[in-house]
Amino acid sequence: MEIKFDKKIYSLKAIKSATQAYRGLADFDFKQKGAYVQVELKNINKDIKEIIKDEFCNYVLFSMKL
């Protein structure tokens, strides 16, 4: 599963913070590709496979405030 975050909107700090918070639920890997930060999620916990992407995106947005 991949998520592309626009660098103009999402800060790398917020993405890292969300990755830290969610590290127990999946394996995260992120790369910077041009205007985007691409986050790859692997080995996702079965119970949350359907919602982890949306919840993670919300958490990144929330982390922007911190």
Partner: protein, 145 residues
């Protein structure tokens, strides 16, 4: 009135906002308010337009998704206006705070009052009754002749 282009699919509503009209801070503000109600994702492909993806946390009908979008736009307007007001009144706020600080630090009476220690006692308050008026003579004891 220009209608905001909207797409509805897969329990989500997608619409585009002009970055020139709505500052990014206002979009963040509105987004924070909606974090508990919906899943949000923002994108900025063209540079001028920001794409907002609002997805219901539960299954929502088309009308409910439209309402969600309407609520978001109202909140966005609220934040955009707040930011504008804050910018417009910035100088006035700085002036008021500056004056308050100057009056707090610049009052000479207050400073002088603070410089006088209690040990100086210019009004002669810190003095015992005996020191001030002397010792009273004792009354003759009853029964004594």
């Amino acid at each position: 009135m220009e209608k905001i282009k909207t797409k509805i699919n897969k329990n989500r509503v997608i619409f585009y906002l002009s970055a020139k009209i709505y500052p990014l801070e206002a979009i963040y503000g509105a987004a924070y308010v909606f974090l508990d109600r919906a899943y949000l994702f923002l994108n900025n492909r063209s540079g001028e337009k920001i794409t907002v993806f609002l997805k219901g946390k539960n299954k929502l009908s088309g009308k409910q998704l439209e309402d969600l979008k309407g609520g978001f736009l109202n909140e966005l307007l609220n934040y955009a206006f707040r930011i504008k007001l804050s910018k417009d009144s910035r100088k006035l706020r700085e002036l008021i705070v500056g004056q308050a600080l100057i009056s707090a630090y610049g009052n000479e009476d207050t400073v002088q009052e603070n410089e006088i220690g209690y040990e100086n006692d210019p009004l002669g308050i810190a003095m015992s009754w005996e020191d001030k008026y002397g010792v009273k003579p004792k009354k003759a004891e009853k029964g004594k002749k």
